[in-house]
């Protein structure tokens, strides 16, 4: 991830793409609107990261529309907003799946075979870290350390921590989540 030379081409492509964020409506009503997030921070460029953090927290990702609103609100060029949003790991430019599997790849987890867990998740779901399955159900994230090293290897499913994971346990977890979704659909 080298951002020294801003990928202008990438930037233009990103902003020109007409693909609508169709799943935006699926996200539950955010507790804070963009206006509320920007309130009290307008025209303060140094608040850029804080504002993006709040957008990420409320919406789950940073949409194009949000970037444009932030650019106007703080008085920062859109390209700078994009540059910051794409530089830091905390920000996503695409929405998450319903179930987010975060695999910790910290050193302590690594020496306890976290790599096998990541391979297992990729193999099971057919998508790479940072991507979402076509049905919008799962996304895989890799994180460099969650600071729960003593309990490693760790996989976090949405907000629940699973410690001392093995490839077998992860496979069962994914199966359980898939079944849950099917049952939910049947109930509807």
């Amino acid at each position: 991830m080298h951002f020294f030379r801003i990928h202008i081409v990438e930037f233009i492509r990103y902003f020109k793409s007409s693909q609508a964020d169709s799943r935006l409506e699926e996200v539950n009503m955010p507790p804070q609107t963009l206006d509320q997030i920007l309130e009290g921070r307008r025209s303060q460029p140094n608040q850029l990261i804080e504002v993006l953090q709040d957008i990420q927290k409320n919406y789950g990702y940073i949409s194009k529309e949000a970037m444009q609103a932030v650019s106007q609100g703080l008085g920062v060029p859109v390209i700078e907003v994009y540059r910051v949003a794409s530089f830091y790991k905390a920000f996503r430019l695409k929405p998450f799946g319903k179930y987010v599997l975060t695999v910790c790849m910290g050193t302590a987890c690594h020496v306890r075979s976290a790599r096998l867990l990541l391979d297992q998740a990729i193999g099971q779901l057919g998508v790479k870290p940072g991507e979402v399955t076509p049905d919008g159900l799962f996304s895989i994230e890799r994180v460099n350390c969650l600071g729960a090293c003593a309990m490693g290897p760790i996989v976090v499913e949405n907000r629940s921590y699973h410690h001392h994971m093995t490839p077998g346990k992860l496979r069962k977890l994914i199966e359980t989540l898939r079944r849950q979704k099917t049952e939910e659909n049947q109930n509807v």
Binding site: Q47, M151, G168
Partner: protein, 617 residues
Amino acid sequence: MSRLNSARELKHLRERLREQRQSIITTVMICGGTGCQASRSQAVIDAVGDELSRQGLDNSVRLCVTGCHGFCEQGPVIIIEPGNIFYCQVSPEDAFEIVYQTVMKGEVIEQLLYRDPVSGKSFQTQAEIPFYRAQDRQILSQNCMVDPCSIEDYIVAGGYSALTKVLGGMMPEEVIKEIKSSGLRGRGGGGFPTGRKWSECREAPGDEKYVICNADEGDPGAYMDRCVLEGNPHLILEGMMIGAWAIGARKGYIYVRNEYPLAVKHSRIAFEQAHECGLLGDNILGSPFSFDIEIARGGGAFVCGESTALMASLEGKVGEPRPKDVHTVVDGLYHKPTTLNNVETWANVPSIILNGSSWFASKGSRGSKGTKILALTGRIKNTGLVEVAMGTPIDTVVFDIGGGAVNGKLIKAVQIGGPSGGCLPVDKFDLPIDFDALSEAGSMVGSGGMVVMDEETCMVDVAKYFLTFLQDESCGKCLPCRVGVDRMLEIITDITEGRGKPEQIGLLEELADTVSQTALCGLGKTAPNPVFSTLRYFRPEYEAHINEKKCPAGVCKALITYWIDPDKCTGCRICLQGCMHKAITGRKKQAHVIDTQLCDKCGICRSECKFDAIRVF
């Protein structure tokens, strides 16, 4: 809580709170740190709280949800005072017995006590447990005593008395002199003398100065900063206030990692409480000293642990470092003189002021004073946070505190200092944990992450792991780091995937040397360290990968084969049912066989086998 207008008011408040608490007979301290929360400690906290109310013990028993106790492997952890009774791996169902037996009757519940995996002996009190016994817990012990969300707890425990001592009659120069003579060195990795940093910043021209607390603990495998900030945020605030007084700053920042939600939450609560009490803001405790703090969440970039990159990030920009021809103590945040210290460094300040520099300097080795918190993790029995006096040999930490290897394996190495540190082999375990001794041996204290590795850890794979990490985290500003790390990773990948050539080792060494000499910032300069140290101490492993196309530890997928030991296999069919590639065949109650053509080496069979029959060679 009402505003405190003088040091005397703070003292009275402390006395009043202590008096109020005299009616409390028993204190139940439950760990609410991230580690224990991962083992569902919230359910235990709720269950014990409910049980106490049901028994009508709300007034005589205090339930204190504390920060991390350090022994995360055994979580959730409970300590009951008086008696220092230590219960581990507690479940919500144990709440009734804990309240009824231990709290009400004072009886100890045998099955909840910690049992030492080495000797099989169980221990009643925290102080007796080998994991704690060999430690010198100056900072961590405070974690177990206070509720991080309660300023009252911190004040009762003597908090903010270092601040009153400073405001009550220590000149800034005296504070700096005290820190200088204590010998405190930066705990974030570099080990720069803190007092010198402060005095340079004080002498730098300009009225507007800043202090920053670096809580952007990006080093994978280390979590002591999280633990201290999460468990005792007022200690950090107090340290920063003293630092701000010493250098003449009116504004401070805590730059905390957003991946640590609890640390963010607790520091925000502490900030508000301190404001309410008049410990932050204008005219603190009625003195002319005014100081305020802002809490900024990091965006998750390892390079932001570097001081100039962190400051850029605080300004709302991309976290790229800049050349440090002029140091940040002169030209830092918004081009103003800035003192940046790590969480643990700030945490040491109040006790140095209170107990004096000679108390602090009496601990530790010649060049490194005080204690250091280490995150002891990896393939070892007791994992968790450990605080020892500087100069303690690695041996003591790994074997006495850590309890040695798991499952009778042999410990091979320990990786100290994160991605910028290095791996040390067992025959170097007599080295003391000391800034200078470790860097001479090709490693570093760094932030204090200690990852223990055994015979099943491949050292080439470890080097590859760190290079992958660094390549991903390199900001890309300077060429040596951007391209150099890339090429080193390419070579190591070739070696781990069986395409290695003997001449590549020399090339790797040359490349590592160039990167370390020419990169712009600390991240790039130290990026080759994992390669240097593994090549220095574990060269035969590299040679085995290249010449024999074998991974001696059985890790590198391209060079290993899974195999079922017919003597151990009972034919239970668990692996056969679990294999997704249909690579395992065999009849019930007869030894199974793996078809190596079909095997994907995913490791499911190995993790599921209860008889340790699946081997890798």
